[in-house]
């Protein structure tokens, strides 16, 4: 911890000597989205630098995988990123299927896509809502959570859980869609699209909101690639890269959808406003995918036959899933036993976290909150 403080370089470039203060933001701070800590060196309201200090939420999830086996690890993956647990489920499932050469039934893939895209909408709703709360407006947050609640209801009907789903299995999903669920899901999508317009009118295009977000901490495309940003954060900088489109997995090849990129209508390309709006655009695209998936669902089983004592052949594999927080990599090494030899998860929030120190130079303290919210950093995903 003291390392973080010591690593800040001292700057004496100003002619007017003012005393800098070291502020400790977190781990218990209302706007750090979980248990984050920043050591801020600030001159009044302007930050010289904010150094992130991660590790407060480390639960050794990767090590647990080596002890509980392939099937048993599925519920633990929910905890890697509890805001969008479907993607971690899917990532683990896909890695095991690749290792064990298991073919997922077509309907199973569709169920996965439906569950995951609903989860993406839920996660993005939370993100845009939290952005509202972080810049001081409670109403958008509660309106967004109201909509998210309905998705939680839908997913609860689907798999019995509202946050840590444990819906997917190696070789497919645990249950087929319940009767009548499809109609409810379509009704929700009809409801969602006007709501996004209303949300934009209420909050996104509000002049104060635009002024708070536009031109704050812009990231150029080159920088974003160098710092390994992924997902919406990368696309906001104008890089058109989406794993669903560029390296199609699951059933994503069947759907027609766009990959929105940041254009910088409000300020610079890749500023906080672009990153924020990226979530709104992606919700629309997700709704598009969901409509197609729900209408064109094939019949058949949802779960492939996988032996209970699952022992994939020795080898290693790497799969990538486009999670709500971007390209999520699962690296699994098998030694032929019933337990993985090594598991590693590469998450979007961790990469975003690495960039905060550079971006924070010269920002104001209020902007740091905006920056964290716009990068959509979720603490459990950083530390795992």
């Amino acid at each position: 911890m003291s390392d973080a403080v010591e690593s800040i370089p001292r700057t004496d470039d100003s002619t007017l000597r003012t005393e800098e203060m070291t502020l400790n933001m977190g781990p218990q701070h209302p706007s750090t989205h979980g248990v984050l800590r920043f050591v801020i060196r600030a001159d009044g309201e302007v930050m010289r630098e904010a150094v992130p200090d991660v590790g407060y939420l480390h639960r050794s999830i990767e090590k647990i995988a080596e002890k509980v086996g392939y099937h048993g690890f599925m519920p633990y993956t929910d905890r890697v990123d509890y805001v969008c647990a479907m993607f971690t489920n899917q990532g683990w499932g896909m890695a095991c299927e690749k290792l064990g050469n298991i073919e997922v039934p077509r309907r199973g893939e569709y169920c996965r896509v439906i569950a995951a895209e609903f989860n993406r909408i839920a996660s993005h709703l939370l993100t845009v809502g939290l952005m509202g709360m972080d810049i001081g407006a409670m109403t958008p947050f509660l309106h967004a959570l109201r909509e998210r609640e309905m998705i939680n209801d839908l997913i609860e009907e689907l798999c019995g859980a509202r946050l840590t789903f444990n819906y997917m299995r190696i070789g497919g999903v645990a249950w087929d869609l319940p009767p009548g669920w499809r109609e409810k899901a379509l009704a929700y999508l009809d409801h969602l699209e006007p709501i996004l317009e209303e949300y934009n009118a209420l909050f996104s295009y509000n002049q104060i909101c635009v002024q708070r977000l536009a031109n704050v901490a812009p990231i150029s495309a080159e920088e974003a690639i160098n710092y390994n940003l992924v997902g919406p954060n990368l696309r906001a900088s104008g890089v058109k890269w989406d794993v669903r489109k560029d390296m199609p997995y699951s059933a994503y090849r069947d759907f027609d959808f766009d990959v929105p990129v940041g254009r910088g209508q409000w300020g610079t390309v890749g500023d906080s406003m672009d990153r924020y709006m990226m979530r709104i655009y992606e919700m629309r695209e997700s709704a598009k995918i969901l409509r197609q998936a729900l209408t064109n669902m094939p019949d058949g089983p949802v779960l492939a036959k996988v032996v209970r004592n699952f022992r994939p052949p020795a080898g290693e594999c790497q799969v990538r899933v486009e999670s709500a927080r971007g390209d999520q990599g699962w690296y699994v090494v098998s030694d032929g036993t019933g337990y993985p030899w090594r598991v590693h998860v590469r998450t979007g929030s961790f990469a975003a976290m690495g960039m905060i120190q550079k971006l924070s130079r010269g920002l104001m303290i209020a902007d740091l909150v905006v920056l964290i919210a716009s990068l959509d950093v979720i603490a459990p995903e950083i530390d795992r």
Partner: protein, 396 residues
């Protein structure tokens, strides 16, 4: 008020030849106790409940609805809870300043009630410098907030306190200058004098007296929001940035007192604007009975003020918070020049039409009505095209 006490003394109600100063002092204590404990304190409490309900409605929640009918006694329950909480004073804090700060803030809230013109007779002290006293004494809040920020010995508190000082002192200037147009037109600083210069009809209000006054009233309203630490200017206690700003280290009743003053200050700000620009207690002359007229005036005054209080809750439920540099540039680059222009414009207006220009009043009033109609139309438009009702009938 003094006149009334004098007549009571002359009538021998307090014995023969009572010491006048003592009688005055007793009356001051009793009346201020009645006003503070009977009006000011319950008002702040009830406003806290109303605000939470209004806010909840805006956010499609329910809000507090358990204690008393519709939760209307929630503020009493909260107050009782806070009184019984431990009063934590941090080791490193400057204990004396730390303890004193909430009282200074509350003082800034209760003292303006002395010149609050509820009706033509219901006013504690009709000072001849009433409006000056009003603005001066409300600025006391900043002293308390700065004190709290400094004494807490917490960097977040300190930033909150400094922000508050910068904000309130800056916005005092446009707020103060937005008062000048009215003073120029009436030639008096007394609250009652200003109200008596207006009539109950809206086109006789100073809001519509001339275009400069209209702008000045808006500047005053926004500045009052900023001085009361209300959204979008609630930077001193910005909970997402500064934890709880200057109040971070406070707990129990002392913590409550800050927010108590904040809720109450909405009324104070509303009363100031009502007095200056919305005709104060002026009510239609329906009866010759003094009591009936006073009640009418009381209702008229309170309706206007409560409307402004409601607007401030509405704004709080809608807008995000501005950044500190945006807030300062809004003040110094826009409001201060505009306020200056208003002052000069009104001075010229008064020089040309010393007795006012009623035609301008009618035109401005019509414009005001048109603006209101436009606003209502916008709101109705959004209400109509807003979401359809959906209920997914969750099975579990």
């Amino acid at each position: 008020m003094q006149h009334w006490i004098d007549t009571l003394i002359a009538a021998g109600k307090f014995g023969r030849n009572p010491p006048h100063d003592l009688v005055y002092a007793i009356f001051i204590f009793v009346l201020s106790a009645v006003v503070f404990l009977g009006v000011a304190f319950p008002f702040a409490g009830i406003v806290s409940w109303v605000e939470r309900r209004v806010w909840a409605r805006i956010q499609s929640r329910v809000g507090p609805n358990r204690v008393g009918p519709n939760g209307s006694l929630q503020w009493l329950a909260d107050g009782a809870k806070h009184v019984f909480k431990e009063d934590v004073i941090p080791d490193e804090a400057d204990a004396r300043l730390f303890k004193l700060a909430p009282y200074v803030v509350v003082l800034g809230y209760v003292l303006p009630w002395a010149v609050m013109p509820f009706s033509s007779t219901l006013i504690l002290a009709d000072l001849n410098v009433g409006i000056l006293y009003f603005t001066a004494i409300t600025a006391l809040t900043v002293v308390g907030v700065l004190m709290a920020g400094w004494a807490s010995d917490n960097k977040w508190s300190l930033i909150g306190g400094i922000r508050s000082a910068a904000q309130i002192i800056s916005y005092e200037i446009p707020a103060g200058m937005s008062i000048f147009p009215v003073v120029l037109m009436t030639g008096t600083l007394s609250m009652q004098g200003i109200i008596q210069a207006q009539e109950w009809e809206p086109y006789h209000w100073f809001l519509f007296a001339n275009p400069f006054c209209f702008v000045a009233a808006i500047v005053l309203y926004v500045s009052a929001l900023a001085e009361g630490n209300r959204t979008p200017f609630d930077l001193p206690e910005a909970e997402s940035e500064l934890v709880a700003g200057f109040a971070t280290e406070y707990s129990g009743m002392r913590y409550l007192l800050f927010f108590f003053a904040e809720w109450g200050n909405m009324f104070i700000a509303g009363a100031l604007i009502t007095t200056l620009y919305l005709g104060g207690w002026q009510a239609p002359h329906l009866s010759d009975n003094r009591v009936v007229m006073n009640v009418l005036q009381l209702v008229s005054f309170n309706l206007k003020v409560l409307f402004l209080v409601f607007t401030s809750m509405w704004v709080r439920g809608t807008l995000p918070r501005v950044r500190i540099d945006q807030m300062m540039s809004l003040c110094w680059k826009f409001f201060v020049p505009i306020a200056f222009l208003d002052m000069i414009g009104t001075a010229l207006w008064v020089a040309i039409w010393p007795d006012g220009n009623l035609v301008a009043g009618y035109v401005m009033f019509a414009l005001g009505l048109a603006l209101t109609a436009l606003f209502i139309q916008r709101v109705v438009y959004y209400l109509k095209r807003s979401r359809m009702e959906i209920y997914l009938h969750p099975t579990i």
